[in-house]
């Protein structure tokens, strides 16, 4: 069992895990801004930003699954 790699993976998982709720909060923030927006252009801007945050969240979740899978593999070795 590669203890150094396990430690690295656990630290990476922790970073990704703590980042996900921040992306969700940021998305919610932009969606609220979009709902309150007075013009179509600003509404579109905030909606686009919200969509980007959703993309970040999805990407982080994908990375999290990969890291968890690798951690399990390293631990099983």
């Amino acid at each position: 069992m590669d203890k150094q790699r396990i430690k690295e993976l656990e630290e990476m998982i922790q970073v990704v895990l703590l980042a996900i709720p921040r992306e969700i909060s940021a998305r919610e923030f932009y969606l609220q801004a979009a709902r309150k927006a007075f013009s179509d252009s600003s509404r579109k801007l905030f909606s686009d930003l919200a969509e980007q945050e959703k993309g970040h969240e999805a990407e982080l979740r994908r990375i999290l699954i990969e890291l968890k899978t690798e951690l399990k593999e390293v631990r099983d070795q």
Binding site: Q14, L18, E51, K54
Partner: protein, 228 residues
């Protein structure tokens, strides 16, 4: 097409390459940008890629060249897809029960230790009573604080056991065990604080030891809010 059926078109072992985007199912079989069902070593065929488009170096217009072979049965085309956990996360974000409840045991346990210390110095009975009732309150309010913490861990962090959460869980259990044991001892022996017997020392130790236990839980909670 159901999501479960879509998973069969994963591009592996010669199977076709399908993916969903905003409710439509696309057939990308034969594309040189997809190798063995994987696109740029990141995105896998057989899944819904809607959320990933904003991260892509290309716009959704590239899909105009792709063949649409159906729609997802359970899907309404919309800009941002919603999963079931989003509902719970949204509820948590609105009411944030863990930050609301955790301050009660924090304040009460610290206050209990402070009053017990004053009692041991000055021997004023009302100080001991205040310490006990604060300790009892701290123990009772630890339950909703711990439960809301577990709920947050589930909806926000998929119950992933990292060092931070491990420490929070272990020392929350320690706190509860100390709290319940101390309360039982004090209920059974109302004069427990007056003597210097091993039981008396044990009771005071439980009241004081919950301070470092609580501090470790709070410190790790702070690491979640302000990661370094």
């Amino acid at each position: 097409m159901k999501r479960e059926d879509l998973k069969n078109y994963d591009g592996k072992d010669g199977r076709p390459i399908y993916f969903a985007y905003k409710g439509k199912v696309y057939d990308i079989t034969g594309s040189r940008l997809w190798k063995n069902g994987t696109h740029v070593n990141r995105h896998h065929a057989g899944g819904d890629l809607t959320d990933f488009m904003s991260m892509a170096p290309h716009a959704e217009e590239v899909l105009q060249k792709c063949k649409v072979v159906g729609t997802l049965d359970d899907e309404v085309a919309e800009d941002i897809t919603i999963d079931r956990m989003d509902v719970l996360r949204d509820w948590y974000r609105r009411f944030h029960p863990h930050p609301v409840t955790l301050h009660y045991p924090m304040g009460l346990y610290y206050f209990a230790a402070f009053m017990q210390l004053l009692y041991l110095i000055f021997r004023v009975p009302s100080f001991e009573h205040a310490a006990f009732y604060a300790f009892l309150g701290g123990t009772l309010t630890t339950v909703p604080a711990a439960l809301s913490g577990l709920f947050s861990w589930w909806v926000n962090y998929q119950m992933t056991l990292t060092h931070i959460f491990r420490m929070k869980i272990i020392f929350s259990i320690v706190m509860l065990v100390f709290g319940v044991t101390g309360c039982i001892l004090r209920f059974l022996h109302p004069q427990i604080s007056t003597g210097t017997s091993p039981l008396s020392l044990t009771y005071s130790a439980l009241v004081f030891l919950n301070v470092p236990a609580l501090t470790i839980v709070a410190f790790n909670g702070g690491k979640i809010t302000w990661p370094s």
